[in-house]
Structures are given as structure tokens and as C-alpha cells.
């Protein structure tokens, strides 16, 4: 049953995203095709520049489209009139939040992958792929030699986790803002006010936390030569991950509480 919740969430998101990806790929293919012609000719150059501009606008738009779409879909399907049906489905509010979070993160990742693929289409030729592979290989060897294979894999995994957790925490912050904002008479304005309220609260808590951490950490670890760069980076990464997880959990429980106990549909 839960699988079907995800299926319908993906349908809701990708009915808009897939056509956008298709247009991006189409424009990229067209650019590639035009690049085979003599672009010094006025007509070819004009079309080439026009399509380049369109592609860049679409590519930039796509970076935000996924995020905006997830938020709009959350609002409409849970807090708008469709919420009457969504909350009548045999699921807890938490299932809806988790589903929208996971599908949202996946849709943003596919957006990035679509942009990379579009770039490949534009730049593709044998030498490009060969150069890219050789550059990637060199970078990989250099990083591996510097950190060692184990540490290299560890740092790569940690960076990946930071990106995903940060994405989750950001989306959950929007979800929490909307879940709080629905309590206001003007729900959209309430959501915006809630967002800035939460943002301000996080900044204040973050500053207090950093001051307390600095005051209690004793000696200045940055000037301690016995602490390696790797150990420093690990401490920093763990700090960020812990913060993201705490924030994400707080936003999740806030959203879940207000959608379960204080739902205020139109």
C-alpha cells in the first residue's frame, strides 16, 4: 500500500518534470547538431545563440523547479482542498511527510542528473569523453594518494551524506513552515512568516551552540599542530551531519505534530 503512495507522488511530480527534461534534452541535442554546422554564418549563429540562451534558462530553471514543485505539491495535496482526500487515505500523517520527502529528494537528484546528461549531449565527442575520463582518473589517483583509499572513500561518502541530509533538512524546514502556517487565516502568508521565524530561531540557536562549543572545547584546536587536517575535517563533517540530523528531526516532528493534531483544512 505504501508503495502506491510513492507511485502517486512520483506521478504528481514527474508529470511536470519529465516534459521539462525532454525539452532540455531536445534543446541540448539541437545545440549539438547546430555546432556541427559553420557557426560563423549569421543565421546559424543566431539560432545557435537563441537555443543556447533557452537551454541555459531552462537548466537554471530546472535547478529550482524540482524544489518549488515539491513544496507546491506538499501544500496543494496536504493543506489545500485535496487534503480532504489525502488525509482520508489509510495512512498516518508521518507516512505522507516521509513519502513527500523521499520523492522530493529523488526528484531533485534526477534534476541534477538530467542537467549533467544535457551537458554531456552538448559536449559529447570522442576526445571530450576521453579527456574527461582521463581527468577523472588523475583526480581520483591524486586524492587516493593524498588521503589513502579508505579515507578517500570515507570523505566521498560523508560529502554525499551531507548533501542528502542538507537537502532533507531544507525540505523539512519548508514542510514545517507550511504545517505551522496552515494555522493562520492566510495560510500562504502564515507559511512565509513561519519560515522566516524558524530561520531566525535556527540562526540564534546556531550562534549560541557555536559559542558554547568554542567556550567548552578548551585549547584552540586549529593552532594545535598535533591535530591533523584529516582529523579536523572529520570533526567538521560530523558537526555538520549532527546539526543537519537534529534540524531535520525537529522539522519532521513539528510537521507531523501539526498535521496530525492541529490540521486546519480550508
Amino acid at each position: 500500500m505504501l508503495r502506491k503512495l510513492y507511485k502517486h507522488e512520483f506521478i504528481a511530480l514527474y508529470r511536470i518534470l519529465l516534459p521539462l527534461y525532454a525539452v532540455l534534452f531536445g534543446l541540448s541535442g539541437l545545440l549539438k547538431l547546430l555546432s556541427l554546422f559553420d557557426t560563423s554564418k549569421f543565421a546559424v549563429s543566431l539560432i545557435f545563440n537563441l537555443i543556447s540562451t533557452l537551454t541555459i534558462i531552462l537548466a537554471i530553471g530546472l535547478m529550482f523547479a524540482g524544489f518549488v514543485l515539491v513544496i507546491v505539491n506538499f501544500y496543494k495535496s496536504l493543506l489545500g482542498k485535496q487534503g480532504y482526500l489525502t488525509f482520508s487515505l489509510p495512512f498516518k500523517a508521518s507516512a505522507h511527510i516521509i513519502c513527500k520527502l523521499i520523492c522530493g529528494v529523488i526528484s531533485m537528484i534526477t534534476g541534477v542528473l538530467a542537467e549533467i546528461l544535457a551537458l554531456f549531449i552538448i559536449l559529447y565527442d570522442n576526445s571530450f569523453i576521453k579527456n574527461l575520463l582521463s581527468e577523472l582518473k588523475c583526480s581520483f589517483i591524486a586524492l587516493k594518494n593524498h588521503f589513502g583509499l579508505g579515507k578517500f572513500i570515507l570523505i566521498s561518502a560523508e560529502i554525499l551524506f551531507i548533501i542528502i541530509f542538507s537537502l532533507c533538512a531544507n525540505l523539512l524546514m519548508f514542510f514545517a513552515s507550511m504545517s505551522l502556517g496552515q494555522l493562520f487565516k492566510n495560510k500562504i502568508l502564515g507559511s512565509v512568516v513561519s519560515y522566516f521565524g524558524i530561520y531566525a530561531a535556527i540562526q540564534i540557536i546556531g550562534i549560541i551552540f557555536a559559542i558554547v562549543l568554542a567556550a567548552t572545547s578548551g585549547e584552540d584546536i586549529f593552532s594545535d599542530s598535533s591535530v591533523s587536517l584529516f582529523a579536523l575535517s572529520q570533526g567538521f563533517i560530523i558537526y555538520i551531519l549532527v546539526i543537519e540530523i537534529i534540524e531535520g528531526a525537529a522539522f519532521f516532528f513539528t510537521s507531523n505534530h501539526f498535521l496530525s493534531k492541529k490540521l486546519n483544512l480550508e
Binding site: 503512495l5 482542498k81 485535496q82 488525509f87 482520508s88 489509510p90 498516518k92 496530525s260 483544512l265
Partner: protein, 232 residues
């Protein structure tokens, strides 16, 4: 008679506003119940509590002996007083949606009713007229083989012909052991189909009894009695 719905001390407050005050009532299985009251009496709040869209401030509700939750949502078919259909979906898409989430959804019955109304399954919801959107909502709701149907103002703001269609659809599409709770203030239109009546006013229970008993001890029709109780 076995009970489908039981409320004990059911109270709902919105801030300092008391929307429902200590409601104690039960509804038997297989009955058609009119939930009657003027605007702002607490009917929709009561319905939202039954369907799990709101949680009570105090008191309990049980449906088929279960507290409100995922299990009760499986057996309650709810028609809100708002259009809940996703405008971008097709009628077929809405059928898929209901079929995916409700094990008791009778798709062939829904398709049959839609076809009889000449509603194209490929049509997008947003392209349908308001009347047809309401009919699609009703058909989806009544095509579930639910134990409890909760219909919030199903005949408000529709023309008389559509009103007849809605009432006919309700009466011909529920199992005899299922219960229907219909919220309305258009009493004369539904009085003949009701078995029981729950009247509430400003969150307080006025009466919860069978139509037969109310007629007997008041000597009035339900519509007349309602007008007397809620006279401005």
C-alpha cells in the same frame, strides 16, 4: 443493535471557541442518519473528528469498536463539502487512485455510473463542469463498499435535478448493513430517506433519536421540528 459509531464526552475546542461540547451519542449499523443543524452548529467539526481530520480536545470516538486511525479510515468513505479531486488528474486517474488505496472500491460500479452520466473517463477533472465534478466525487465515494459513509452537505448548492441524482445514487449504492451519515440543513429534501436524526446546535447535542420517535413525541415532521428548534 450493533453500533458503528460511539462518542463519549466528545469535545472540540478551537482556541477558546467551543465547537463541540461533551457529545455522547451512538449510531447503529444499517441506518441512514441525518446530521442536522444550522450553519456553524458543529456538523463539519463532528464529521472531521469522525474522519480523523481533527483530533478531539477531550473525549473518545470509536468506529466499529476501533479508535480513529488508519484502520477506521479503511472502512469510512467520506465526501467532504469541498471539491477534493486533483484538477490535473483524469477521471480514470481518480479511479486508479481510489482503486489503489481502498480495497473496498468497486471500480466497475463506478465506471458504470460514470458511463451512464456520459462522463468521459479520459476527461481531465478541471475540464468537467462543477456539477459533474460533484457527481464524480459522489460516485467515487459511494463506489466504496464501506461500513460507514460520511457525506458532508452533498446536496447543498446543486440544482434540483442534480439533487435527485445524488439522493438516488446514495440510496442505490450502499449495502444494507452499511451506515450513512448525511450532514445537511436542507431537511425537507432528505427527510423521507432518514431513519435517525442527530441535531446539534452551537456544539451541543439537541436530539439523537429515530425519525419515528421524534415524529411521535413532537407530532411534527423533522423539517417542522427543526424550524421550531432553530427559530431565529
Amino acid at each position: 443493535m450493533e453500533k458503528i459509531l460511539e462518542c463519549n464526552g466528545l469535545t472540540k475546542k478551537y482556541g477558546n471557541n467551543l465547537a463541540l461540547n461533551n457529545l455522547n451519542l451512538s449510531v447503529s449499523k444499517g441506518r441512514i442518519v441525518g446530521l442536522l443543524g444550522p450553519n456553524g452548529s458543529g456538523k463539519t467539526t463532528f464529521i472531521k473528528l469522525i474522519t480523523g481530520l481533527l483530533t478531539p480536545t477531550f473525549g473518545d470516538i470509536a468506529i466499529d469498536g476501533m479508535p480513529i486511525g488508519v484502520d477506521t479510515k479503511k472502512i469510512v468513505s467520506y465526501l467532504p463539502d469541498h471539491n477534493f479531486l486533483a484538477p490535473w488528474r483524469s477521471v480514470k486517474g481518480m479511479l486508479d487512485y481510489f482503486a489503489d488505496f481502498y480495497a473496498d472500491f468497486d471500480r466497475s460500479r463506478a465506471e458504470q455510473m460514470l458511463t451512464s452520466l456520459n462522463i468521459d473517463l479520459k476527461s481531465k477533472i478541471k475540464t468537467l463542469s462543477k456539477g459533474n465534478q460533484e457527481k464524480v466525487s459522489l460516485i467515487l465515494t459511494m463506489s466504496r463498499r464501506a461500513k460507514l459513509y460520511v457525506l458532508d452537505e452533498p446536496i447543498a448548492a446543486v440544482d434540483p435535478a442534480t439533487r435527485d441524482y445524488i439522493l438516488r445514487t446514495i440510496l442505490t449504492n450502499y449495502d444494507s448493513d452499511a451506515t450513512i451519515i448525511i450532514s445537511t440543513h436542507l431537511i425537507s429534501d432528505i427527510e423521507t430517506i432518514l431513519n435517525d436524526v442527530i441535531m446539534i446546535n452551537t456544539g451541543n447535542l439537541v436530539v439523537a433519536d429515530s425519525v419515528e420517535n421524534i415524529k411521535e413525541y413532537t407530532g411534527k415532521t423533522i423539517d417542522e421540528y427543526f424550524r421550531e428548534v432553530f427559530r431565529c
